[in-house]
């Protein structure tokens, strides 16, 4: 259906062009090559418009270009002998300028971007209709000369009300100044403004407008030259041909821009090949390059979470629709694969982003599986850290309960017995006195035992004095000489202090049990955002991470906090255990 319309309009255009050419040449109004150039410009607009309309029906730019083409063709009939044709062509011919400006500003979607552009375009339409109509009201061919008056009997204006040469001249000059001067400059400024405000991908789309801006600027200059200076025939020739060239460039540039997504299919094929060699982690970068959008983000769909994650497996939320970002969701059958979060400008080229998405789907699905795996890893790591942290805080709680509950109670009880014993003074018999004494003594021993038990569960020194104090204390409790070479004097996060302490504690327990060492050293120091804990002994060595649950437990503890554990233990060469624990700030 659309194709038929396009063919029909093209045929009408050809006929109009041929007649237009005849009108120009047969009456000797213009030299044949210039007449042909005029018709050529009009046909270029028409052809570009119709092609664009056919290929990009959702954009009104094609229709506007075609309308400009028709207006340019119609304008040629100003030179007709027929007064009716003259009047109609004169009244409507200038519309071409407004159509062109409208098409350029509305590129690429066919919709104007701002209120200012809307006002500008409406003003344009109004002026290019109003001025010629006003001119027709006063134009008298016997007194004024419109075009090439030397070539004989000019037609009349059918709208003539009152001939006036003064008004005619005024209208003509203010039209040239107003439309080609002032509006021309505003037009160039609007285009420049579009560029300034555009995001990188948008700027790429807008490139053809630079051509239009340059052409309009040139047009304004030429009109100014015609209005304010006299010029030779040679100069006129140069101006004429450069104007023709500039005009032809406009529809070609716009059409090329509109069809670029189609031309970019080559890029898409290239992308497809490139993606085969791209590791999943870099899929985003390849897509970003292909789409010319550095802000592109890729979010992968993870069905278990019913949500999106980034390439590192961290959950991400897609932006809201109004956040100045656009989202294109990619699906494989009915299953979601990924979402591209990109510059809304890319929506101007739905086919490009569709094609790129299709090409990337396989690679993205791969990347998605990796991201999903990472997400699971992140979840497992988090839960492991939580379990260890929960264990530590449980130990702290048990210690606190023992300390603030049982221990206090026993001391209070013993104190009560002592007070009673004192109050009774010498009135007690010896047996009872010694029973009370031994009861208090046993209570005291129970308090001591509880204290040791609590210490083993979670040393209060660690809570009260921090890691340095706890390591000193620990070193004294070990039956072989242990030197603490370094320890951070400042307080660290409680979980970090606990992990470091228990690592040293378990490592030293291992030294005592297995190493047959005569001495050991301990150090803990912060370096490059890590707390590095090192335990070394001069024992028999040969410790192996895969054997014995002691080292295994250490390894799990350190790993759970996202750290690393190294064991260097050559047979006969002592053992050195180095744990690196990430610490904030």
């Amino acid at each position: 259906m659309r194709t038929r319309w396009i063919l029909l309009l093209a045929a009408v255009g050809v006929v109009l062009g041929v007649f237009g050419y005849r009108v120009l040449v047969d009456r000797g109004q213009q030299p044949p090559e210039e007449a042909a150039a005029h018709i050529g410009v009009a046909w270029t607009f028409l052809a570009a418009g119709l092609i664009a309309w056919g290929r990009r029906p959702q954009s009104r730019v094609g229709a506007l270009l075609a309308a400009a083409g028709f207006a340019l063709l119609v304008r040629r009939f100003q030179y007709s002998e027929s007064s009716a044709l003259f009047t109609a062509a004169f009244a409507l011919g200038e519309l071409s300028n407004a159509f062109i400006a409208h098409a350029v500003l509305a590129y690429p979607t066919g919709r104007l971007q701002s209120r200012l552009e809307g006002i500008f375009v409406r003003a344009g339409y109004l002026l290019v209709l109003a001025f010629p109509l006003a001119t027709l009201l006063v134009y008298d061919p016997r007194r004024s000369c419109l075009f090439y008056c030397a070539f004989g009997g000019p037609p009349h204006s059918l709208l003539l009300v009152h001939p006036s040469n003064g008004v005619f001249d005024l209208l003509r000059d203010s039209y040239r100044l107003g439309v080609f001067g002032v509006l021309g400059v505003v037009f160039v400024a609007l285009i420049a403004w579009k560029f300034v405000n555009a995001s990188p991908p948008r700027r790429r789309t807008l490139a053809p407008l630079a051509v239009a801006g340059a052409a309009a600027g040139m047009r304004a200059l030429i009109e100014a030259a015609i209005t304010f200076t006299t010029y030779s025939e040679d100069t006129r020739q140069i101006l004429f041909w450069s104007q023709v060239t500039a005009q032809i460039a406009i529809p070609i540039a716009l059409l090329a821009g509109l069809l670029r997504a189609r031309l970019a299919r080559g890029d898409v094929a290239h992308l497809l090949l490139e993606l085969e060699r791209t590791p999943p982690a870099q899929v985003r970068d390849a897509l970003s390059r292909a789409l010319g959008d550095p802000s592109l983000e890729v979010a992968f769909w993870v069905p278990e979470r019913a949500g999106y994650v980034d390439a590192a497996g961290q959950p991400v939320a897609l932006p809201q629709d109004d956040a100045g970002r656009a989202i294109t969701r990619l699906e494989q059958g009915a299953e979601r694969v990924a979402a591209l979060v990109h510059d809304p400008a890319l929506l101007d080229e739905p086919e490009l982003i569709g094609a790129v998405g299709a090409a990337a789907r396989l690679a993205l699905d791969n990347a998605r599986l990796q991201a999903e795996l990472r997400a699971q890893l992140v979840a497992v790591r988090e839960s492991r850290a939580r379990i260890v942290a929960a264990g530590d805080s449980e130990r702290r709680r048990i210690e606190q309960d023992l300390h603030d509950g049982a221990q206090q109670r026993l001391v209070a009880l013993a104190l009560e017995l002592r007070t009673a014993q004192r109050r009774l003074g010498g009135s007690l018999d010896r047996d009872l006195e010694s029973i009370l004494d031994s009861t208090v003594e046993q209570l005291q021993r129970a308090v001591e035992e509880l204290r040791e038990l609590a210490h083993g569960v979670h040393p209060p020194v660690l809570t009260q004095g921090g890691l340095a104090a706890a390591l000193d204390d620990l070193a004294r409790r070990i039956p072989i000489p242990v030197r603490v070479l370094a320890a951070p004097q400042e307080r660290l996060a409680p979980e970090l202090e606990a992990t470091a302490y228990f690592v040293v504690c378990e490592a030293l327990a291992n030294v005592v049990k297995h190493a047959q060492a005569s001495a050991a050293t301990v150090s803990a120091a912060r370096a490059n955002g890590s707390l590095v804990v090192e335990i070394a002994d001069d024992g028999v060595g040969g410790a192996d991470l895969s054997r014995g649950s002691g080292l295994r437990g250490l390894y799990d503890r350190v790993e759970a906090r996202g750290g690393r554990l190294r064991v260097v233990s050559p047979p006969g060469g002592g053992t050195r255990i180095v744990g690196e624990l990430p610490c904030a700030s």
């Binding site: 206090q408 009560e416 002592r418």
Partner: protein
């Protein structure tokens, strides 16, 4: 003597208060947390505050922190810290500079009532009370070689009691020795360690602690 007791366990606090009252101390206030402690000390100006190191809300070292503030603001108030555990480094930090009017004891020392009352009096009068465990650790840290190794077992005992902050009189009572014998031991210890005799008790404590901690 006027006493303030800060201890969050009600049972223990009441036991302590009864004990002190029976020893004819005037207990002017008893509180359960560090903020209240500072308030009543400001208000009542006691001779001594007996303070549990661990109190609400975090049960870490609120008592010690409050005590440090009180010491900054009012040197006249004696502080006796009670703790379920003795921690050497913490102890040294607390009194290595100004041992006067200061004490740091394990909580269960209260069960040896006479000793405890003696420690409270000592601190309230400007003296020092350091837990035997702290002294034992300090002594234990030193190598046996050197001057300490030359002390007789009796002299070591006397040295420990000096380090705890006891006066000659207190040492006599504790070891059942005559004042003369104690003085002889003290003189001998100071000679062997190469220290000068200190003119009063807390300078003596300071000298002994400095020696042990060097």
């Amino acid at each position: 003597m006027r006493v303030v007791v800060a201890e969050d366990s009600v049972l223990l606090r009441e036991g302590l208060v009864r004990l002190l009252q029976e020893a004819e101390f005037e207990v002017v206030a008893q509180v359960g947390n560090a903020d209240e402690l500072r308030a009543v000390v400001r208000r009542d100006k006691p001779d001594i505050a007996i303070v549990d190191i661990r109190m609400p809300p975090t049960h870490t070292d609120e008592g010690a922190q409050a005590a440090a503030r009180i010491r900054e603001q009012d040197r006249e108030v004696g502080i006796l810290l009670l703790s379920q555990v003795i921690e050497l480094r913490h102890a040294l930090k607390l009194f290595s500079e100004t041992p006067e009017r200061f004490g740091y004891l394990l909580k269960d020392r209260v069960l040896d009532i006479d000793d405890f009352i003696d420690a409270v009096r000592r601190v309230a009068r400007g003296g020092t009370a350091i837990d035997p465990e702290v002294v034992a650790e300090l002594l234990g840290r030193r190598k046996e070689q050197g001057p300490l190794g030359e002390l007789t077992p009796r002299e070591r005992e006397v040295l420990s009691l000096m380090a705890e902050g006891r006066s000659n009189h207190g040492i006599c009572a504790k070891l059942f020795l005559s004042p003369k014998t104690v003085e002889t031991h003290v003189a001998s210890i100071f000679m062997k360690l190469g220290l000068r005799q200190a003119p009063d008790d807390h300078r003596r404590v300071l000298a002994v602690l400095a020696y042990l901690n060097s």
